[in-house]
Chain length 136, copies 6
């Protein structure tokens, strides 16, 4: 269920069907997960979102598995249950082991802790870290 009606392939408009087809082809699967069926309520949002997801998860300077783990890290910090489960599943399919998941969570946990401490004490940024260490 969802706050909008999920749009199944059979009832989809040609514009929506084209996106569904591209999702299945790109991923080599024969089904569409609920996320896409929900945002299909606005075909333009569906198309743009899929283009974005497709672009950022494609191989590039970063490894696809690394990208998937970054996706999990953000989803955990936002507390998005659907996203944590779906991207953890995707990461496992791309080779993430229990050990890697354990390390990923250890980093995410420490990052959330030290983020809170820095913020809580209102620590001033060291000069050397300004602009993320970039030489102006």
């Amino acid at each position: 269920m969802a706050t909008v009606k999920l749009i199944e392939y059979e009832e989809a408009s040609p514009e929506v069907k084209a996106v569904y087809d591209d999702i299945m082809t790109t991923r080599g699967i024969d089904w569409i997960n609920n996320f896409w069926k929900a945002i299909a309520v606005q075909p333009d949002m569906l198309r743009r979102t899929w283009e974005g997801v497709k672009a950022v998860t494609a191989p590039g300077a970063l490894d696809p598995l690394v990208k998937e783990m970054i996706y999990v890290a953000v989803s955990v910090t936002n507390g998005c249950e659907y996203c944590i489960n779906s991207h953890t599943a995707s990461a496992r399919k791309k080779g993430m082991t229990d050990e890697m998941l354990g390390e990923l969570m250890a980093v995410v946990g420490m990052a959330n802790q030290t983020n809170a401490l820095v913020t809580g004490f209102q620590v001033e940024l060291d000069k050397v870290f300004q602009n993320g260490g970039r030489k102006p």
Copy 2:
């Protein structure tokens, strides 16, 4: 500045000095950044936090640069300015290029968008993603 007095090396207790020494040795540097000087207000917190950070950033199943980028992803999602700048600087020192930073942010941006969409429509988790795709 900060909401507590930063504790400089010279005035630190032996317990705090020992942690400062280990930080500098482990990182091959000769200075301590403000974060540690702030949390030194509670020496036990300083020691435990350093042990945690040291453990999760050490090489393991995940590459140290990957861990640093995961740290950045969490810090961005939490909006922690100090953390974003300091970990971006660390990632650059470990080899992150502008291209990699660009891809990292592209993933973080899309993840924050799709997290919001999934949550906004209250999309139900597909069965296949339950338990992060783990076979029970």
Copy 3:
């Protein structure tokens, strides 16, 4: 269920009953939703919260439906399931169509993405935007 006992109308104190009555009269309904029954654990909090909600959702410079959609946007960003569902329901009752909900979510999604990108790159505020564009 909840972490406190929900207080039903029949067992409520006169102070709580008076708030329940005002909620039902103001909204033209004959039941009280769980939120109010939970915060009734502290009658003063119940009264103040209801006064606040009543005040901010009344017609004013902004349209009641617009206010309801703003409520949804905040609830999505906070990931509050109860709030998303209840305010989406209220917005529908006030005339929100699927198309409007789609556009609302499209904005919420893009805002969460660009918020993350601005923060991730630590972009400095352009002069012209200072003080929200207000002339000092």
Copy 4:
């Protein structure tokens, strides 16, 4: 400043220049704000993000000013300083008065409060609100 070098119009690649031109034409202005100059580090991200922002802020079922205020509501909840200032400025340009800004913030404030109360007491969703009040 930012954690990446801002790309000015003069030094931009044709692909980036094309997006900059479209931003200026669409908005009827002759300058580019820092946000776009930062994400231009990855031209594809620049193009997709601009397409998204352009699409969601165009007139549709919702009024452009309403969309701008929704953008502000999300940015406040995320604590994004750049975003709050820039979108408040945009909303003012589209006609938002001090009174409207006051009401917007009153709703955002109450929403953040009641979100916390619902979550804090773990209030169970009333049946009538399930699926955002949508009839299945």
Copy 5:
């Protein structure tokens, strides 16, 4: 500065002046901090917010210093710089020592870490903790 004009005492309407007077009397001070001067843009919001803050910080089942520290904990988790600084200052005035602040932050830090771990692994709630341990 702020995105609205701060309203000084001299130029305030009688309704706003009355709230300012009550703030100064209640707190035994002779000045108004910027927060109130900003939300005075909407006198009704000023009045309601002050009533709420006055009510929740008054002595009750919880000690005023404890309440102030809870305020700090929430502000840290939300990353609100103004709020962290002002409530840390208030807590210090009410007797919070560096040692207490250190312990407060140690708890806030661990809570943010374990929150992330629980969420990251999607841990199912133990039966005994349901409804916050309340017997139904």
Copy 6:
């Protein structure tokens, strides 16, 4: 369930068993809650996290019940369902009454509201609050 297999006492390694034993001894209970069984996927994370939780919840300058309520306040603000329920249950065991829980939530609610208002109007910090009121 969880995204990793929960490790029961019987099947745990000696390192994990030692932590489980210390948890049960410290708390005077004969069972382990799901959180620890999940993070046991990485024994080092289990050990460090338990040491941290044990340290911050021990009596100190702050009362154990106060610490538990601070834990609840952070968990509410993060929206962590498991954490809210488990720490509310712990706080009740340590003496938190319904009245205290009501006051705790009233503070958490107001803090989330005023945090949003301060941020929404981008209120500048008063000089007297700088560094949390600490004299430099």
